[in-house]
């Protein structure tokens, strides 16, 4: 067992994992409608392969990857394609094309699916890469970066370590935790497959110390394999961020944007991704479902579901006993980085690790006071930036100064807003400045 370093910045956040942490993973079942966005991963949207009215089966590919960074999409259950139309995509925050499927309840498997096998020795590296690509695998931690791209680093980059991210440092969420507790063997199998696919010799499974059961299960499962190690991190947000994880576990720092982990010889994947690859190899079923924690003080019975991609959030909340009291906010993802949605009609995406419901009384807005320069945000910033000045410049439209303060390095983890005693929306200001600067850069590049 490796003990990880403390790393830069970060804050202690309330755990809240006890709400759903004891609930075993249940099957959520089949809702009345599934909404599958063509754009639910980082990169180019996928291109539909079906037409309205077509019959589809569970696991059938319904959209093809397009371009270098993209992922394909599969039907989570059998049924009919009801529509291909723009729907509200909560993470993008705008309308985006989606394939809408009306399930027929048969849950009939697509005939073309075939298991690859459960003996890694017998599966070639190229086969693994192909399965990853054809299964539409993306990072299930939240960013939804296509996994296939990660497995094919440029030849001049020497990758020496593969990190499996089971830190789950966001409060409330327990999807990864439950998966590690219940499916440790499969995760390890999937992880070893990922390592083989990327040609990496050494793997480290990273878990925060507030999940002792998961640590035990993963250590047990990893024991037979000398190339695997388990690293235990202290519970501190945002220790599970990709860059923070690399710093804490390996003592390396990823170069500033556009630097990537592979610049320092590392690939990071989420435990959910490893599990999905294991399922794809063993059964042939592509990525059509994922674990979603439905939790928070605002739901009656916090639960962990195995939900089909595209399941409406309202359906999951209903399954979790409905709201308890008046809901104030419904958030896709965790409370620190998740996206608040305006209604519960939105579906679960590949990157949705949780649905968090905060009751109305918990989300009262507090008055925003002037900055008192307490420096808490500076101490908390995991990127060792100066949120106090970046946000101040951003709010007053000094984009150049903000850029000079390295606002583009910001990972938007939200700790600065979290710790601010004046309740200033630092993260929001910084995010806005980032998008304005990015737009300016795009405009400049076009010229």
């Amino acid at each position: 067992m490796v003990k990880a370093r403390r790393g830069s910045g970060g804050v202690p956040v309330p755990d809240k994992k006890e709400l759903s942490g004891r609930m075993p993973i249940e099957d959520a079942g089949i809702p009345a409608e599934l909404t599958l966005f063509l754009s639910q991963h980082t990169g180019a949207p996928s291109k539909p392969l079906v037409n309205v009215g077509d019959e589809v089966k569970r696991g059938q590919k319904i959209a093809e990857a397009q371009g270098a960074v993209s992922a394909c999409l599969h039907a989570p259950t059998s049924g009919k394609v009801k529509a291909i139309e723009p729907r509200y995509q909560p993470v993008l925050g705008r309308e985006s094309d989606a394939i809408v499927i009306a399930p027929d309840g048969e849950h009939a498997l697509y005939e073309g699916l075939a298991p690859v096998g459960d003996d890694l020795e017998a599966i070639s590296q190229d086969k693994i890469r192909e399965v990853v690509r054809e299964s539409g695998l993306v990072g299930l931690g939240g960013a939804a970066f296509p996994t296939a791209v990660k497995l094919q680093p440029p030849p001049d980059k020497k990758i020496d370590t593969y990190l499996l991210n089971g830190a789950e440092c966001e409060p409330y969420l327990t999807a990864d935790q439950k998966l590690m507790e219940e499916a440790a063997q499969d995760i390890v199998f999937g992880f070893r497959a990922l390592m083989k696919g990327a040609g990496v010799e050494k793997g480290i499974i990273c878990i925060e110390d507030n999940k002792p059961d998961a640590i035990r299960a993963m250590e047990e499962a990893a024991k037979p394999y000398p190339e695997l190690e388990v690293a235990v991190l202290s519970h501190r947000y945002p220790r599970g961020g990709e860059k923070q994880l690399i710093e804490a576990v390996l003592g390396r720092e990823v170069p500033p944007p556009p630097g990537l982990p592979l610049d320092v010889g590392v690939i990071v994947s989420n435990v959910g991704t490893a599990h999905a690859l294991a399922v794809a190899l063993k059964t042939g079923l592509p990525l059509v479902e994922r674990i979603v924690s439905v939790t928070g003080e605002g739901v009656a019975r916090p639960s962990n579901f195995r939900a089909l991609i595209g399941t409406p959030v309202s359906y999951l909340i209903e399954k979790a006993g409905g709201f308890s009291g008046k809901p104030g906010k419904v958030i896709l993802g965790g409370p620190m980085m998740g996206v608040a949605v305006k209604d519960t009609d939105v579906p679960v995406l590949k990157g949705t690790s949780g649905v968090l419901v905060l009751p109305a009384q918990a989300v009262k807005s507090e008055p925003v006071l002037p900055c008192v320069r307490c420096g808490r945000c500076v101490e908390a910033c995991p990127m060792r930036l100066l949120p106090v000045w970046m946000a101040a410049y951003a709010e007053n439209g000094y984009l150049e100064e903000a850029e000079k303060m390295r606002v583009m390095d910001c990972c938007e983890c939200g700790v600065c807003s979290y710790v601010c005693p004046s309740r200033r929306p630092l993260t929001q200001s910084i995010r806005l400045a980032k998008s304005q600067i990015a737009a300016k850069r795009r405009a400049a590049a076009k010229k």
């Binding site: 101040a392 410049y393 709010e395 000094y398």
Partner: protein, 195 residues
């Protein structure tokens, strides 16, 4: 000892800005940006030090021998203007990068009362050429220290909710007052050992 005491007086205990009210216009006018304040400081350091040398030499070799002290004011202002002009030409020829950095500030210095003030104080204190130069350097250092501190404070006003009607002179003066209040702490520093 005299060197230390002149330096100390110029920089801390009788700072040109905070204690002698010299060079205020430029102090308020050119302190909105730290970088420009830095440029101005460099120019003032250079000009004030050597303008004092030149003025003191002029006093000693021309005004006193010919009994023309009553024309001092006119003589000094001409000497300083000519000196600044010379520096400008000299820098342009020999150090273009430095000229680029300081160039725009140089003409402003002619009317900076701190320079003429330093030269006048040298006469009042009977400093002569050497100590006059030291005093010029000390005064310039003190002036630079003051404007750099103030520029640091002022840069923050850009993104603070500073009342718009009071920005500029009213707050600049109140701030200078508070700064000079803090500088009162240096009063009498080392006087026991220097005297």
């Amino acid at each position: 000892m005299k060197f230390i005491s002149i330096m100390l007086a110029g920089v801390l205990t009788s700072n040109f800005i905070f204690m002698q009210y010299l060079g205020l216009c430029a102090f308020v006018g050119i302190s909105e940006q730290f970088e420009t304040a830095l440029g101005m400081s460099g120019a003032v350091l250079f000009v004030m030090t050597f303008a004092c040398t030149v003025a003191a030499a002029f006093e000693q070799f021309i005004l006193v021998p010919f009994g023309l002290q009553y024309l001092r004011t006119i003589a000094y202002i001409l000497v300083i203007a000519a000196f600044v002009q010379l520096v400008e030409i000299f820098l342009k020829k020999t150090a273009p990068s430095l000229y680029k950095a300081l160039g725009i500030y140089l003409p402003l210095i002619t009317t900076n009362c701190a320079v003429l003030g330093a030269a006048m104080l040298n006469v009042k204190n009977d400093y002569g050429i050497l100590w006059g130069t030291v005093n010029g350097l000390a005064g310039a250092l003190g002036w630079s220290l003051a404007i750099l501190i103030f520029a640091g404070i002022r840069e923050r006003w850009k993104f603070m909710k500073i009342p718009e009607v009071l920005k500029g002179f009213p707050l600049a003066l109140v701030s200078t007052g508070l700064m000079s209040l803090a500088f009162l702490g240096f009063s009498g520093l080392f006087k026991t050992i220097l005297k």
